[in-house]
């Protein structure tokens, strides 16, 4: 396994070619090689090899701790996977989570960025507050919201004040995923706000002045000046939000353990449950592979779509 998986990654190691020596003594190629070795070895060992292993292990019955070596079992893991209701539930939840999070979170983040993209005293205060949840660990955020979402927790207490009887947010299969979506946006939206903001600030102010002299109303200014200027930022934000949405795990692990009735289980949660708790590395690798393909396909599609628009 090991030796065969190593091969494709080997070209990553720089060769030391007989490049023209700038200085007497060591050739630049040798120095470059020496400087790249630490990072190169680490990336090879802890990034490239595991990626290749994901493909390899998915077709074996490898177990985390087992006296017997892993054996090739063809597509058995995938047959089992595609026959499992829990797998479909995880796939569905992961996709629903991403489909909701990607547009909503990027839109709210853009709105926040616009609210604070003003040259005015005191506006930094708002930026700081909106950003606080980003520096708070998702683990802490999950615990905090676990309490807010309790049947007798803060949110239902607030709702009771206006006469609404709140549900058991995390205990009800109909609301659990929604509840996790809300807190995930709350935690991460400040991050993308800052990225939008840096995009907004690259748009020269003269463009707005020119537009308003030409009589453009604020909406037209947004459509013809702001938005076109944000295209690069938008691509970056779409891709990062999508990938992090697919990786949903901590919130689920802390708040719901995938329940109720698989309503919040996700691909990564299932991979951890099978690969770590049940030690079935091969099966978990198959789930990871599905996840990997999903990420790859979506980022390719997004890149393709956004390229098209650029060309127009």
């Amino acid at each position: 396994m090991t030796t065969s998986t190593f091969k494709p990654a080997v070209p990553a190691q720089p060769a030391a070619p007989p490049a023209r020596a700038k200085r007497a003594g060591r050739r630049p190629g040798t120095v470059a090689f020496l400087m790249l070795v630490p990072a190169g070895v680490l990336i090879l060992t802890f990034l490239l090899v595991p990626i290749v292993l994901t493909f390899g292990l998915a077709f074996t019955n490898a177990r985390l701790i087992s006296p017997q070596p892993a054996r090739f079992i063809g597509f058995d893991n995938f047959v089992r996977l595609f026959d499992s209701d829990t797998f479909y539930a995880s796939l569905r939840n992961t996709l629903v989570f991403a489909i909701v999070i990607v547009p909503v979170q990027s839109a709210i983040a853009l709105g926040l960025a616009m609210l604070i993209n003003v040259k005015m005293r005191g506006v930094n205060f708002f930026r700081t507050i909106y950003f606080l949840p980003v520096v708070t660990s998702i683990v802490v955020v999950s615990i905090l919201w676990l309490f807010l979402y309790q049947p007798n927790g803060l949110i239902n207490a607030l709702l009771a004040n206006v006469g609404i009887q709140g549900p058991d947010w995390l205990g009800n299969p109909n609301t659990a995923l929604f509840a996790i979506i809300v807190l995930s946006i709350w935690q991460a939206v400040g991050f993308h706000m800052v990225i939008w903001l840096s995009g907004l600030q690259t748009i020269p102010g003269e463009l707005y002045e020119a537009a308003s002299i030409d009589g453009a109303n604020p909406w037209q200014q947004f459509a013809y000046v702001t938005w076109p200027g944000l295209r690069q930022t938008a691509i970056f934000i779409l891709i990062t939000i999508t990938i992090s949405a697919f990786a949903l795990f901590s919130q689920v692990n802390i708040m719901t353990q995938g329940g109720p009735l698989d309503a919040t289980t996700t691909l990564v949660f299932q991979a951890v449950r099978t690969g770590f708790q049940q030690q079935q590395t091969g099966y978990a690798a198959a789930i990871s592979l599905v996840f990997f393909v999903l990420v790859l396909v979506v980022s390719l599609i997004q890149r393709y779509l956004t390229r098209e628009k650029d060309a127009r």
């Binding site: 990553a12 630049p28 292993l53 003003v118 840096s198």
Partner: protein, 323 residues
């Protein structure tokens, strides 16, 4: 986007992206009285919105910190009123004192500090060196290596976490006490070494180094400096902003590690703080203690963020500049 605008502009008839207030309305004199009034209304609504959002993002954290000083019964009885967010009633440090009865907190804290410092410090050296070689030294295969590193950026850690778990359990390790051993599970190094080299850090350094004039290298070479010397004495001292960015962007995930230590560490004495949260979720949860634990592992980071705000925000912003 469009679905946000009406909300962002409140009850105004025309949905208006608010930043144009800053860009346009402030700089162009508004002639008509009606326009002036509209401007004022818009301004007030924008301020209300900003304040409401401040409550949305700030209150839950305030609630967490305030509750950490209250006994469980009072936390619940305060929920129905504004008192939930105010430090009133029977305040004490009992919840904080109770933490150490449930978890070896000092141990967890030391572990997290060790892991974070090592990951950040080694990461700065290893990644900046690699970026230096890629950006400033000419050699064959440069483009390919850079391409491979950039390609790995779209692979989230979670996709390979399980294969990596299997893999680190097979890796050999050498130390001077035990000699060669197999398997990295249950150690400090398994929580540090896999996260030292980081494609994104390399990319950020690379991008920054490219803005430093190459003539500096030539001048240093004339003075007899080798590449290592140029890296250490010329380029790195000029790269403060890049160093700050990478340090901040690697500090947060290192401190917040959860999934990985959950899987690779069995012994209590090697666990980091985030995994400690799971200790409190057992039977008869004490929410007061849980809020105290959550506060104590969060507040230092929040204070650090507020102190170094500009660097934090700039780091995140520069992470998005990539094309």
């Amino acid at each position: 986007m469009t679905d946000l605008m009406p909300r962002a502009a409140g009850e105004e008839p025309h949905a208006v992206p608010d930043d144009h207030l800053g860009h346009v309305a402030d700089s162009t004199p508004v002639v008509h009285k009606a326009g002036e009034r509209k401007h004022l209304v818009r301004n007030i609504l924008t301020w209300i919105l900003r304040i409401v959002l401040t409550l949305v993002f700030g209150l839950p954290l305030l609630f967490m910190i305030v509750s950490s000083f209250k006994p469980d019964l009072q936390i619940f009885s305060d929920l129905t009123s504004i008192k939930a967010f105010l430090p009133v009633g029977d305040l004490s440090l009992d919840n904080y004192a109770g933490i150490s009865e449930r978890v070896p907190f000092a141990r967890f804290l030391i572990n997290s500090v060790i892991i974070t410092i090592c990951t950040v410090a080694f990461g700065l050296i290893v990644n900046s060196m690699a970026a230096f070689a890629l950006s400033r030294i000419k050699f064959r295969g440069q483009k390919i290596i850079l391409g491979i590193i950039l390609a790995t950026l779209i692979v989230p850690f979670e996709t390979m976490a399980l294969p990596l778990l299997w893999w680190v359990n097979k890796l050999p390790y050498f130390d001077f006490v035990n000699g060669f051993t197999q398997g990295w599970l249950d150690s400090y190094q398994v929580q540090i070494v896999p996260f030292i080299a980081n494609a994104f850090s390399i990319f950020l350094f690379y991008q920054y180094f490219d803005t430093i004039p190459k003539s500096l290298d030539e001048a240093a070479t004339v003075d007899g400096a080798g590449w290592f010397r140029i890296y250490r004495s010329v380029i790195m001292p000029l790269s403060g902003p890049a160093i700050a960015t990478v340090a901040i962007l690697t500090f947060l995930p290192a401190w917040n590690q959860y999934l990985w230590p959950l899987m690779v560490v069995q012994s209590e004495e090697l666990r980091p703080v985030m995994v400690g949260i799971d200790y409190f979720k057992q039977l008869n949860v004490s929410w007061g203690q849980l809020m105290a634990y959550a506060s104590i592992i969060t507040v230092p980071v929040l204070i650090m963020f507020i102190a170094f705000q500009r660097s934090f925000i700039n780091s995140i912003a520069s992470s998005g500049v990539k094309g």
